[in-house]
């Protein structure tokens, strides 16, 4: 997906003005939050918090010896007939996939949802090389028709309403429109089925990589993941290096908290553990299985002050609970990963200077941290990115000057008291008889565009206290 995070403010502005998008957001808004809360209550709140601790421990254990677990995964997977490849960056992912296509003379790729393939901008590269990519996750399929990127990592087309989807189907399927959602889903199934059956390449992501067995674990609700990874001759799983976990037992732990945190389900409809290609005597499965382990900036996080971010299991809970994401939607963030986790990953993977607004566009409310199944301290990571921006001189001069001035005055009580006395009077006067200021100058305009600023009482607490409690 092309990087547009530098345009966050404009994109957010457009999103706020987009009535249809706001409707779609509000309709979906609380659902995942409610469902997760219900799942957590059903599991038992105390037990759920213990599960979060256990899940964070699994992830930390893997990350502490990431290189060793990856090598173990490679050895076990290779032993079972999987070819393990390593890709440093997006360009290498594309190169490796296209080489596989040439090697096996592949013509059509069916894809289950893979955020890594978005990172690698894989679809255009496939198409240019004469390999037709077809998305099979219903949301991704809809977006492929619309030529739009995903706006949420679990529910990619959440920004589209039913009418928009119906219009896309009518345009691309060239049939009279189906009636309700159930019929539209059936229509999509009918259109996709021939692609499933005629594809020679299946491309998937990987929810987890299990080192002890060399397996790729994939979860979907639609069953498309299962078909993509077993029907075509060749299966390629593309995943980030941070996804490795030591054992199947660890997989069981994480797959208890992943579905509950993502959609409030106890378990996903389809849960596949893929361990090598078809063996002699197997009824189905690909002839060839590849796993591409991708860095693309992840090693930059290892051992860094932001390393907790690598625990992420891509559940989407943070963005579901984020009041900013729920106000502007996912496209404003301008890259593959939106919301709180995207606000950390986008600058880290693409350069701090290319996503300056993302770590700033948060109130640090902490809802994401509370919801994260692996207890990533997202607000603190965002704050650290703000610190990095400050240290590298990436903040506007006005902002740095204002903070400097504030700290200078706040350390000198006499100066501070004087400034506050003046400000209290000026602002009270500006508030007039209404007691509300409608226009503040400079940075204050950011406030008053959409709100009044309540006028101060006119004297400071310090002054009044001295007047009324002269004894102190």
């Amino acid at each position: 997906m092309q990087l547009a995070s530098i345009h966050f403010k404009q994109r957010a502005s457009r999103a706020l003005a987009d009535v249809r998008l706001q409707s779609a957001i509000k309709r979906f808004g609380g659902t995942f939050v409610e469902k997760r809360a219900a799942a957590r209550a059903a599991y038992g709140a105390a037990a759920f918090e213990e599960l979060r601790d256990a899940s964070a421990e699994v992830r930390d254990r893997a990350l502490e010896d990431l290189d060793a677990w990856l090598l173990r995964f490679e050895a076990e997977a290779t032993r079972r007939g999987t070819t393990v490849l390593w890709a440093e960056d997006a360009a290498e992912v594309r190169r490796l996939v296209l080489e596989i296509c040439v090697r096996h003379r592949l013509k059509k790729a069916i894809k289950s949802k893979s955020m890594l393939s978005e990172e690698a901008e894989l679809n255009p590269a496939l198409a240019a090389a004469g390999v037709q990519p077809v998305e099979t996750d219903l949301g991704e399929y809809i977006l492929q028709l619309a030529d739009e990127p995903p706006s949420h990592i679990i529910a990619p087309a959440i920004h589209k309403d039913q009418a928009q989807v119906a219009a896309l189907f009518e345009q691309h399927h060239r049939r009279p429109p189906s009636g309700d959602i159930a019929q539209m889903t059936r229509e999509a199934r009918e259109v996709l089925r021939p692609h499933f059956l005629s594809a020679d390449l299946g491309i998937s992501g990987g929810n987890f990589l299990v080192a002890e067995t060399g397996s790729v674990a994939i979860v979907t609700n639609e069953g498309n993941g299962r078909m993509v990874t077993t029907l075509p001759r060749v299966h390629v799983a593309i995943t980030g290096i941070e996804k490795v976990i030591p054992t199947l037992e660890d997989l069981a732990t994480l797959n208890r908290i992943l579905p509950r945190s993502a959609t409030g389900q106890d378990i996903e409809n389809y849960f596949s553990i893929l361990t090598g290609p078809r063996r002699a005597g197997d009824a189905d499965g690909p002839e060839h299985m590849y796993v591409i382990l991708v860095d693309n900036g992840r090693t930059r996080l290892v051992g860094s002050e932001l390393r907790d971010m690598l625990r992420c299991i891509r559940c989407g809970a943070c963005m579901n609970h984020c009041p900013v994401f729920q106000t502007v939607g996912g496209h404003a963030y301008g890259w593959v990963y939106p919301g709180p986790m995207g606000s950390v990953l986008t600058p880290v993977y693409n350069g701090l200077e290319n996503a300056l607004d993302l770590p700033q566009a948060a109130t640090l409310c902490g809802a994401c941290h509370v919801a994260c199944p692996v207890k990533i301290p997202l607000p603190e990571l965002l704050r650290k990115l703000r610190e990095q921006q400050m240290e590298r001189g990436l903040r506007p001069l006005g902002e740095r000057a204002a903070l400097c001035l504030w700290a200078f005055a706040a350390r000198r009580p006499w100066l501070y008291a004087l400034g506050a006395r003046i400000a209290a009077r000026v602002l009270k006067w500006m508030g007039g008889t209404r007691g509300a200021i409608e226009n503040l100058p400079l940075a204050g305009a950011g406030w008053t565009l959409g709100r009044d600023f309540p006028a101060p009482e006119g004297k400071t607490f310090r002054e009044l206290y001295r007047e009324r409690r002269p004894a102190g």
Binding site: A361, A407, G472
Partner: protein, 251 residues
């Protein structure tokens, strides 16, 4: 019990009456309250913006000003949270400062938490005839666990009926400098909060943080709504009846 009152920069500048309400409540609860005269800001704006050294300088100042008190009480979840949760992050590896941070953190409380769990306030001076709804400010809720304390106090308020609103724990959009840096998004979030307040049918929304209060009040004002926006300290003292040393404050 010698209680140091940290009024916060916003209260000092914009709403001194909240400071006096807190003062009255604490004295009414039997506390001997001091208001260190040199207090200014807890350093949170610098901390949240990534300006570590200025945040540290203000932390050093505040620690020195308040550490002699038995308790430090703050009518703000975010400032109390800054002191108790984040001050230690400003002095990594510095044993002496860390000890002072921990000592201060152990005795610093948000106002309602202090009134309920330390002062064990039985009765509140004010009354409110009508329905109230409570907005849970993010820092107070998630950093300090302030949830039941304000509700316990409001339940003691004669005449008041508490009605919870939808998404009472969702951020109002203030977020400090976020409110001006991303004013459009911030105002939209405030608008959503105002909608929920309105839908609750409450006569007033009560909260524990002046930042949230100014944000919500400002958006209410722009929307032309008449719902009152009140700090819990003023509500508990009886709005319009805040006395300071026998003198009734001008409203």
């Amino acid at each position: 019990m010698r209680v140091g009152l940290f009024v916060t920069c916003l209260v000092d500048l914009v709403r001194p009456r909240i400071g006096f309400a807190a003062l009255n409540l604490l004295e009414g609860a039997g506390c001997d309250v001091v208001v260190p005269a040199a207090q200014t800001c807890c350093g949170q704006p610098g901390w949240n913006s990534g300006a570590r050294s200025s945040a540290r300088a203000l932390a050093e100042k505040l620690i020195a000003e308040f550490e002699h008190c038995d308790w430090v009480v703050v009518p703000s979840g975010s400032c109390a949270g800054m002191i108790t949760t984040h001050y230690r992050d400003l002095f990594p590896g510095e044993g002496a400062w860390l000890a002072r941070c921990e000592a201060l953190a152990a005795k610093t409380r948000e106002l309602t938490d202090f009134l309920v769990n330390v002062a064990r306030l039985e009765r509140v001076p004010g009354e409110f005839l009508g329905t109230l709804t409570y907005h849970d400010s993010c820092s107070g809720l998630r950093e300090l666990g302030v949830k039941s304390q304000p509700r316990t106090l409001l339940a003691k308020l004669p005449g008041a009926a508490l009605k919870e609103m939808k998404d009472c724990e969702t951020c109002c959009g203030f977020g400090g400098t976020f409110s001006v840096k991303f004013g459009e998004i911030s105002a939209a979030m405030a608008d959503t909060k105002c909608e929920h307040v309105r839908a609750s049918g409450a006569d007033a929304v009560v909260l524990g943080d002046l930042g949230c209060m100014l944000n919500i009040e400002g958006r209410m004002s722009r929307r032309g709504e008449t719902t009152k926006v009140l700090h819990i300290a003023e509500v508990l003292m009886g709005v319009g009846g805040v006395e300071v040393g026998g003198l009734r404050m001008e409203d």
